[in-house]
């Protein structure tokens, strides 16, 4: 893979006495990465730096091949970065197509390119006829997809998505997650996803970077962070529960009851096949099975707790 799209080396940012970012050293791996952290951890400052809107107070960085310490490069790098803001943002009195086209042209596209490209990205996010209507008729889901479309209009290498699934209903959320997943995996875009909804991060990203108080707390692939050595498997059993428990006991499985007809069993293999065999042998039926992976949420709270920072 070519050189990582974001390389930070001791990046710092101070607002007067407040140290917003204290020496971030990070190499963004390809594919989608989750940026996690409680409110006020420095996430928005980092995003502004990656967008070239702020000048770093210290350290070195290369963003999409540009050096953000020079003003001209800070402007040029925005051609390579697509930003989807968190809060509501629309250009007053314009409909969907006009907004995306206008922003396309502001990135240096000719009028014709901007128009055709606008329709392409609006097709991609599936905003069919809504693109011709004013934004007051847009649902939250449609507004989020329009924000994604405007971030894609100039086909950037790096995508910064700030809380893309915030406030969406299940259908909208599922749709947005598919888009993000498709962009990150199928299209091979480098993607930094900022979100409070950790299940969403878990479903779309491969790596996460956790930032708090302006410092990187932990970094790595979700697989590693959430894999527990042995797998705890939670099952719901119908039929002869006692016999099943006894059978597991004799086989030396560690287990504990977690509710009527529900058990938690410690298993060495990555799947539950063995349990089916044992259940079958003593007349019990497994009607529900799930491998308990410590969800990203627990990792998130654990990391924060470890550093005694009261989450807001």
């Amino acid at each position: 893979m070519s050189e990582a799209i974001i390389v930070l080396d001791g990046l710092e940012k101070r607002y007067g006495s407040i140290r917003a970012l204290e020496g971030l050293t990070l190499e963004l791996p390809p594919g989608p990465t989750g940026l996690l952290g409680p409110n006020g951890a420095g996430k928005s400052t980092l995003i502004k730096l990656l967008l070239g809107q702020l000048e770093p107070s210290g350290g070195r960085a290369r963003i999409a091949g540009f050096d953000p310490t020079q003003r001209a490069q800070r402007l040029a790098l925005r051609r390579k970065v697509g930003y989807m803001p968190e809060s509501d943002c629309l250009i007053p009195r314009m409909n969907g197509v006009e907004i995306v086209t206008a922003l396309g042209r502001l990135t240096g596209m000719t009028a014709r390119d901007a128009m055709t490209r606008a329709h392409e990205v609006l097709d991609y996010v599936e905003l069919e006829e809504a693109r011709y209507r004013g934004l007051d008729e847009y649902s939250t889901g449609m507004k989020q997809r329009l924000k994604l479309a405007q971030a894609l209009v100039h086909d950037p290498e790096l995508l910064l998505l700030d809380e893309p699934t915030n406030g969406l209903d299940p259908k909208g959320r599922k749709h947005m997650l598919e888009l993000v997943h498709d962009l990150g995996h199928a299209q091979g875009k480098s993607l930094l996803l900022c979100s409070h909804l950790l299940p969403d991060v878990e479903r779309t990203c491969e790596h996460i970077v956790m930032i708090d108080k302006g410092r990187i707390r932990s970094e790595g692939s979700i697989e590693e962070l959430t894999r527990s050595e042995a797998n705890w498997v939670e099952v719901e059993v119908e039929g002869d529960l006692a016999a099943f428990q006894a059978r597991l006991g004799t086989e030396g499985y560690e287990l504990e009851a977690t509710g009527p007809q529900r058990l938690r069993v410690k298993v060495m293999e990555p799947d539950g096949d063995r349990l089916f065999e044992l259940a079958g042998s003593c007349g019990a039926i497994v009607s529900e099975l799930s491998i308990e992976r410590s969800s990203l949420e627990d990792v998130f709270l654990e990391t924060l707790a470890r550093t005694e920072v009261p989450a807001t």
């Binding site: 809107q53 051609r79 250009i91 007053p92 042209r105 502001l106 596209m109």
Partner: protein, 307 residues
């Protein structure tokens, strides 16, 4: 609806992203297209302007024909008493209108006030509505600087000012040129064209800057409207009082009085007694511009950093 993979195909963009100096221009064109959607406001504001312009052109036409009749030789004796009376009246009227330029002067003062009104309505939302809607987050994620953002918006305001002032004034001058016998208007008074253009451009810059400053300061369009109306209305009694009781030059504090003074000077009409001299008006106006631009510069800086 099962969660099968996403259907739509993402197509990369093969075109090129140019970095031309006119980065701000798309901001103007898209902004104008949006502003021109306000049909009702356009109608209410620009229809009266159109009517007034047509009337003035007609008056210019009447003036020149009257002048023609005046020079007709040997026509006096044959006219009976009635004819004499009518001719006398027309003669008097021609005398009074003899000078088209003073007509244009009065017209330009009127259109100056109207231009301010038009720019106030169309341009007072340019900055504050962007900020309220969060559009600045979209703009400043694009490769444009604060100066581009200002220029783009400024040209939108200037467009409305030009249509309210430059176009009517020029059309009157052109009408005068055609109506005047053997283009005499163009030959004798050709400098009026340049004066009209210069005066309109100066007033466009002043009006646009004032309105954009109000828009940059206000959190809502209605506050910006209040700011512009308030400033213009308050400056008149203050200037009148100070000018009257302290120092004549202080009349220049009132923007509308400056407008009159500038019009007088630009069209070389110094006969009518005007409390403010050209230099006084220019000093006042340039001070106002300096304040406006520095306020805008500060507000936009805060907008981008805080965005």
């Amino acid at each position: 609806m099962s969660a099968e993979t996403h259907l739509e195909v993402y197509r990369p963009f093969l075109g090129k992203l140019r970095d031309d100096p006119l980065r701000f221009w798309p901001l103007t064109t898209t902004g104008l297209r949006t502003a021109l959607k306000q049909r009702r406001a356009l109608f209410i504001l620009y229809l009266p302007a159109l009517i007034v312009t047509v009337v003035v052109c007609f008056v210019v036409y009447v003036k020149f024909t009257a002048e023609g009749m005046l020079h007709g030789e040997g026509a006096d004796e044959k006219l009976d008493f009635q004819g004499q009376l009518v001719k006398g009246m027309v003669l008097a009227q021609a005398e009074q209108l003899l000078n088209v330029v003073s007509l244009i002067l009065e017209f330009s003062k009127g259109m100056g006030g109207f231009a301010l009104l038009a720019v106030t309505w169309f341009a007072s939302g340019l900055f504050c509505e962007d900020k309220k809607a969060g559009a600045h987050q979209l703009y400043f994620a694009r490769p444009i600087t604060r100066l581009d953002y200002f220029l783009g918006k400024f040209l939108i305001a200037a467009f409305f000012a030009a249509w309210a002032m430059l176009v009517p004034l020029l059309s009157v001058c052109i009408a005068a040129t055609f109506c005047s016998p053997e283009w005499s208007f163009l030959k004798q008074e050709w400098d009026v064209f340049f004066r009209v253009i210069a005066f309109s451009c100066l007033w466009t810059v002043v009006a646009s800057s004032l309105v954009l400053t109000a828009s940059a300061l206000a959190s809502r369009k209605s506050f910006a409207l209040l700011g512009v109306f308030g400033f213009v209305m308050i400056s008149v009694p203050i200037a009148a009082t100070l000018g009257e009781f302290v120092d004549k030059r202080l009349f220049a504090l009132a923007l509308l009085i400056d407008l009159d003074a500038l019009a007088q000077e630009f069209f070389g009409r110094t006969d009518t007694e005007n409390p403010v001299s050209l230099s006084g008006a220019l000093v006042a106006v340039s001070a106002l511009l300096a304040i406006c631009w520095s306020v805008i510069w500060l507000r936009l800086r805060r907008l981008e950093v805080v965005a």
